[in-house]
Amino acid sequence: MKTVLSLVVWFVLWEIAGRLKISTIVPPFSAVIEAAIEIAPTEKFGKAAIITLRSFGLGMLLALAIGIPLGVVMARVKGVGRLLGMWVNIFVSAPISALVPILMAVVGIGETTVVVTVFLFAVFVITLDTQVGITHADRSLVEMARSFGASRAQLYSKVLFLSALPEILAGVRLGAIRGVKGVVIGQLLVAIIGVGELFEVYSNNFLMEEFWALVTIVFLFAFAISEAIAALERRVEYYAASR
């Protein structure tokens, strides 16, 4: 695994840079790992993690529950697609964090705001990719199913959804990555809960080992989720090329 080797080189460099005290904010890699092992089992971290995971999970669930069906409708009902298409495209690349102050004013300062932030960060790319996937579902497959008398429900479940699954999963993976960014930004802005709060505390009190430990943990979480979904994607990849 060449990738692993490359990362090992970076960890070694990090260790050396930390030992040489090149910068006050960069502690040695080993110290960071130590800190990570220390804070992980603490109650404080546990609470923060639960709140964060909860917000993330809820937000993602909402994004999936609304995004995927919406994407399907947008693809199959031309009117809806044309009406909403422009907005989905705008919001997919827009600075959504600009909307958080509004959320704070309307919904208040707390977990709900963070959940809505995660939802907003993730939903648009999920909708867009679902729409693209369904739209590009092989026409001849649809015609074939119809010619053999498939009902609407069968058409959707047996042909369309599976055909679009690679794109849908790609959208979900991107949505999950954005969701993690959303939960971090949301919590940083709200500043009183979850890992966002911990980030503030650590950096304000110059607890650099703990700060980087938390950064590493969150980054690893984002990476793990992304890879988990990518593994699902690889499972359906085998038919993606021959569609």
Partner: protein, 246 residues
């Protein structure tokens, strides 16, 4: 022609639909902080007229453009390097893949600590968010050169230098431009986060000021304007891209 009207017609309908929904939602007594579209539009107009919006953008634009420009030069160069050299690729690719997925916002409070709350921090925030996508796109542009074109160049005894200058780089230009466009999108995201997390100046200042005096129409209007500015500039870049690389 017919389809052109159809598309314009739908775009118009889309706007009307959205703004009508907004108007209705605003009038619903859910929260005093959610103004209807009409009030927001008025607030926006007032801010344009008295120049506050323009001045704010002038301030916010600086770190945004500076950051994206620096990113563009360094990012494209590095991406090309990654594409041409297996050694650089081996060392840097895992890092950039992680950076693309990572919630970089978490590091911003650290920037504030190191570089204060001034221009430097904000430029760095923009760079941190825009760099990965610019680098990755440049890299992919180089790597995705069709093998057939490379073989063709070799069949006419082209040297490696000729290959890179006459085939690889022109071919990568399209993806490099895409990377720049996506980099600008990330730049907008970066500057907004920087304004909200580091210290509000320019647009961020307008947002927090109007929020603190409960002038919600103007607060909304400012936010809507930044979303609109981002959307419009990206749309223009996309049209340019389609023109340059059909």
């Amino acid at each position: 022609m017919k389809s052109d009207f159809g598309q314009r017609g739908w775009q118009l309908a889309s706007f009307v639909f959205f703004f009508a929904l907004w108007e209705l939602a605003g009038r619903w007594p859910v929260s005093p902080a959610f103004p209807p579209f009409s009030q927001t539009a008025v607030g926006l107009w007032e801010m344009i007229l008295d120049g506050t919006l323009g001045k704010a953008y002038l301030i916010t634009a600086q770190p945004l453009l500076l950051g994206v420009a620096l990113c563009a030069v360094a990012g494209i160069a590095f991406g090309i390097g990654m594409g041409l050299s297996r050694a650089i690729e081996w060392l840097s690719l895992p890092v950039f893949i992680i950076l693309q997925a990572a919630p970089m916002a978490a590091i911003i409070p650290l920037l504030t600590y190191m570089y204060g709350i001034g221009l430097t921090s904000k430029v760095l925030a923009v760079i941190m968010l825009a760099a990965p996508v610019i680098v990755m796109n440049s890299y992919k542009g180089i790597r995705n050169t069709p093998p057939s074109l490379l073989q063709m160049c070799r069949s006419f005894q082209g040297t490696r230098v000729q290959e890179v200058l006459k085939v690889v780089l022109p071919h990568a230009a399209a993806l490099i431009f895409t990377g720049l466009r996506l980099g600008l999108a990330m730049g907008f995201i970066g500057i907004v986060i920087a304004e909200l997390l580091i210290t509000p100046t320019g647009i961020g200042d307008l947002i927090s000021y109007h929020s603190s005096v409960a002038d919600y129409p103007k607060m909304f209007a400012t936010i809507a304007s930044i979303v609109a500015v981002a959307a419009i500039s990206l749309h223009l870049l996309q049209r340019l891209e389609r023109r340059l690389f059909p």
